[in-house]
Symmetry: C2
């Protein structure tokens, strides 16, 4: 491993962080970075760098990187572009481990001078073996380490988990964090690669491959100039950890906007999608699918095959789920004779007793619902279960009735669910089931079925 | 109008409601129906019918419909199938206005006897000119009238609004209600048509066409035997009120399950979709799209053309929105020269100043953000705006900065947004903006853009 990649660990797990451009003024990004660091529970040293202040946020400030006597692992840089080159030199002098370069004004601007400046800075960073996240980034968040090195303190509200997000868009990263806060999805790291001075998707993939806190990698990609290294890295990494990819830039307008945003054309969308899929990425089409897939891989095992049982408290949601499931290559097979006989003994003839099963008529009978799910999920013809239960007053006991069984089952085969109720009902039970990894719950039957499709796609195309 | 259709008004706006099979036992649906009626704030008379009780829920019970001395507008029937025919006779005798038939065991069962019973019952209902919702339904909810005639009391938590849902699935109706409770979408009526004895989508469409409380009609369709009257009704109604249609049953499994569920094969999916579109329905592909479209039509005007301005606080979400917008036939045109000059004066050159505009660099400058939106939305080249703002600490003032202007603008052209933040930030402002119909907000940029596509589709294909 080269020195730059070795330094990545210091960048993501620093013992000391300097904020170059630290400020107490709200309209400076250095203010927000200081706030993030102070409030995230970071246990290491925070070193404000500002030539015009003695103290910032109550912490002794230094006029420059050079003037600080101790060791600096990470420098977060939020000063105007014209000062950046000199800051890099000082970082080299002080053997700083890594840089988060928030400053904008490089390749993304509509001026060849920006491109040239970025080239020069890149050469410098490579020569110094300093990995640089950015420029033009919100920063990084290492939730498993308690580090918020970004200009948004509220990133620290993101739940801890095993999903790493690497994103070319700050806006999308913020959105994903906010959306995930309202669901049960946790992140290990959130990384805004920005204009990728010398840390691109490629480097991040290699770093995350061996990150013990990360089991799932989600990418938001607009455009990169030379996608081959990224594609090769996905080929390698996806065998070990699922890689989810959301690529925008399919429209002519967005392709052009991407050039201005990240300094790279989005490129031929179809070519990207083809290569991403071939490399083993799970390609999703919007930000909610990215989160849904991440949640499934984060909390569920992967099915051995494509045969699912749809077990529904009401017929309609089961039908909607079956539609999506078939679109994603899942099969809804017959149960074995033994299973079917058992289900027939538990449901009246008026019910839909074959797969997809309508458990509606067993509402009042918690034992029957539990037994149907139990026998269906153990069936040798079945690789995963999609369970759909909508609250309806008469079935208020349904979730309590199946809880222990599902916890005991512990997703030996995946159990994706849409259990839905008004606020205040079943929420505690759903939370408990998710915490104990007994289910992965989704807001709609379609999203539960689709997420099962993502799991199967990974098994089929990557694990084989 | 025939007598049956006249009676629809008594069915949906009854002054007195009889519950045939009312009960105090939790495991009887008659218990849950009584609870719904008691708790929904219904101001009319509730008449429990049960031969074995003097009082139910503290209300004097009668042994039969016949034995009640007063007038009955609506009878909710939740007794076993074998009693239903006699109940219908008594309803006729007492000139009951309409029936909600919760009882199951008719066409949907796997026995020709069920079909025959439904035929006989249907003949009776038609002869009596009594409109019947069901059989095999959860019931109806008339939120604008304060009536919950269903077996789920929690339907009353649904917000009041101008969307009517007509659904062939109880499970889907429950889900839609729960999902809508977490967003700002309100319903006028929720109707579970069940196995459609003599009130089918056709009759519901005609009824809702003239319902002053309903501006948008959403349909969840599995399968019906003779779709032509429904298609004809959509053709007629959609000119006056947008009709959104979600049709399931595209897979072979779901097609078969639908037969068992609602007594009708789902039918050739593509044929359905073609006819629905041709008739002027906005066809959606999942339950979230149904809600997103309903929200847009419920709260926004319809754009005159397909030219949208995408105004984004961060570039990434704007790019994702542009992708979806183009897929849905929307254009992201150049602004007029005057508008562009004004925007150029408000944003530094490094920003993306052409449409889609990246307002990021104006974060600290509330006035600039406001003026950009104001000038873009008034541009004669622009028919609607999609505004995307992700919270990021430094831009905390952004929503306050544009609030008054958007309220004053009052969606003279549609304003669809994804304004997103962690819990507790911006929520009050978003709520105020939605309440005042200044914006229609969505959880993701893609869903905001797609919803704008639905509005445009309605203008293009139906209004012309």
């Amino acid at each position: 491993m080269n020195k730059k990649m070795e330094n990545m660990k210091r960048l993501f797990e620093p013992k000391s962080v300097a904020v170059v451009g630290a400020s107490e003024k709200f309209d400076k990004l250095g203010f927000h970075v200081m706030k993030s660091l102070k409030e995230c529970g970071f246990s290491g040293e925070i070193i404000p760098i500002n030539p015009n202040a003695k103290k910032i946020f109550g912490i002794k400030a230094y006029p420059s990187i050079r003037s600080y006597p101790g060791r600096i692992d990470l420098a977060i840089v939020a000063v105007p572009e014209r000062f950046v080159s000199e800051v890099f030199d000082q970082c080299h002098e002080k053997d700083v481990g890594g840089i988060v370069l928030i400053t904008a004004g490089f390749r993304e601007i509509d001026d060849p001078e920006g491109e040239r400046k970025q080239m020069l800075l890149r050469e410098k960073a490579e020569r110094y073996s300093i990995p640089v996240i950015g420029p033009n980034t919100f920063g990084i968040v290492n939730l498993s380490y308690g580090l918020n090195a970004s200009f948004t303190p509220e990133f620290s509200l993101t739940k801890k988990g095993n999903v790493a997000l690497v994103s070319q868009s700050g806006g999308m990263s913020h959105l994903i964090s906010f959306l995930s806060q309202r669901q049960d999805i946790g992140f290990s790291k959130i990384v805004g690669v920005g204009n990728r001075l010398n840390v691109d998707f490629y480097e991040m993939l290699l770093f995350l491959k061996d990150d013990p806190e990360t089991n799932v990698i989600a990418l938001y990609i607009e455009g990169i100039d030379n996608p081959r290294p990224m594609i090769e890295a996905i080929k390698d990494v996806s065998k070990k950890k699922p890689v989810i990819a959301y690529k925008t830039g399919s429209s002519k307008t967005s392709n052009q906007a991407s050039k201005s945003h990240t300094g790279s054309l989005a490129g031929r969308y179809e070519l990207y999608i083809g290569s991403l899929k071939q490399a083993g990425a799970i390609v999703v089409e919007n930000v909610e699918e990215l989160l849904d897939a991440a949640k499934a891989f984060s909390k569920s095992s992967v099915p051995n095959g494509n045969r699912i049982a749809i077990l529904s408290g009401q017929a309609g949601p089961g039908i909607a789920a079956a539609d999506i499931a078939e679109k994603f290559g899942l099969e809804i097979p017959r149960f074995t004779e033994r299973t079917q006989e058992k289900i027939n003994s538990l449901l009246p003839p008026m019910a839909i007793r074959i797969n997809p099963v309508d458990m509606g008529p067993a509402w009042y009978d918690k034992e029957a619902t539990k037994k149907i799910i139990d026998v269906a999920i153990r069936d040798e013809n079945i690789d995963a279960a999609v369970i759909l239960i909508m609250y309806a007053s008469a079935n208020i006991g349904a979730v309590d009735g199946i809880k222990d069984m599902l916890i005991e089952w512990n997703q030996k085969k995946p159990v994706l669910t849409c259990i839905s109720s008004p606020s205040g009902i079943w929420e505690r039970q759903i939370e408990e089931l998710e915490e104990k990894k007994a289910i992965v719950n989704y807001p709609t039957p379609e999203r539960a079925a689709k997420s099962c499709g993502f799991l199967w796609e990974y098994k089929r195309r990557v694990l084989g």
